[in-house]
Symmetry: C2
Subunit: 140 residues, 2 copies
């Protein structure tokens, strides 16, 4: 069995508001979009932002709650890259949960919620290699 995640789908209330956070904040480009969903081609998987009613109907599970018990992380090349990206995401409609500081386990990180309350950790982790295609490898 492949150790593989194909898609992360986030439920959103307003596609344009969410799109602004990902396109202007992260600087990403959609690979597909229609009036229900926006897909971004990521590092070996897809990120989808789907109107929450569509996601709830597809999984046959209404009343999904926020903030959910999860976080996504985007790692950056250096410690000095963390806070500027947090600030840019906040300017694009995000809400800062924690400004960048050093956790006990090393590195540097902060957290921003996207406009639909989904949490992103922005982190510098010098132990985890990131290749030119954005693929991340575990290290201690």
């Amino acid at each position: 069995m492949q150790q593989q995640i194909s898609v992360i789908t986030l439920g959103v209330a307003d596609l344009a508001r969410s799109r602004r956070f990902y396109v202007e904040g992260f600087g990403w480009t959609p690979v597909f979009e229609n009036e229900e969903i926006v897909f971004y081609q990521m590092n070996g998987l897809m990120l989808g932002t789907w109107l929450q009613a569509g996601l709830e109907a597809d999984m046959q599970r209404p009343n999904l709650a926020t903030p959910g018990a999860f976080a996504l992380a985007h790692n950056v090349p250096g410690q000095a890259d963390v806070q500027p990206l947090i600030d840019r995401l906040a300017a694009a409609g995000g809400t800062i949960l924690r400004n960048g500081d050093a956790p006990p386990h090393g590195g540097f990180r902060g957290y921003v919620a996207d406009p639909d309350d989904h949490a992103w950790e922005i982190a510098w982790n010098p132990s985890w290699a990131i290749d030119e295609h954005g693929r991340v490898t575990f290290g201690l």
Copy 2:
């Protein structure tokens, strides 16, 4: 800016219960584990299962809710692979949300919640290529 997700971290209540779902259900092998967190090396990113109190403290956001407004997906090579994996995940402590059937947009999929109520879509999507390393590429 790389279109890159480095980590998906799921809040869990019981590490052993969660580990059983991912190790026995999906057949995955942890790359690191201690008494707080289990990491799995995935296709260009990490999956982390972290005791929810640790995740909440790190993001400075208590009272995370479930089920959250998101889904992860694991795509399989063929339509006939969908339901057997759903059944195996249920036997490893998951809860079936939707048995495999054909969505309007094509392919075949069902949903299973992990023991902490995080939803996994198990899907066959013939339009999206999966390479030998588990890297998924968008296609129509």
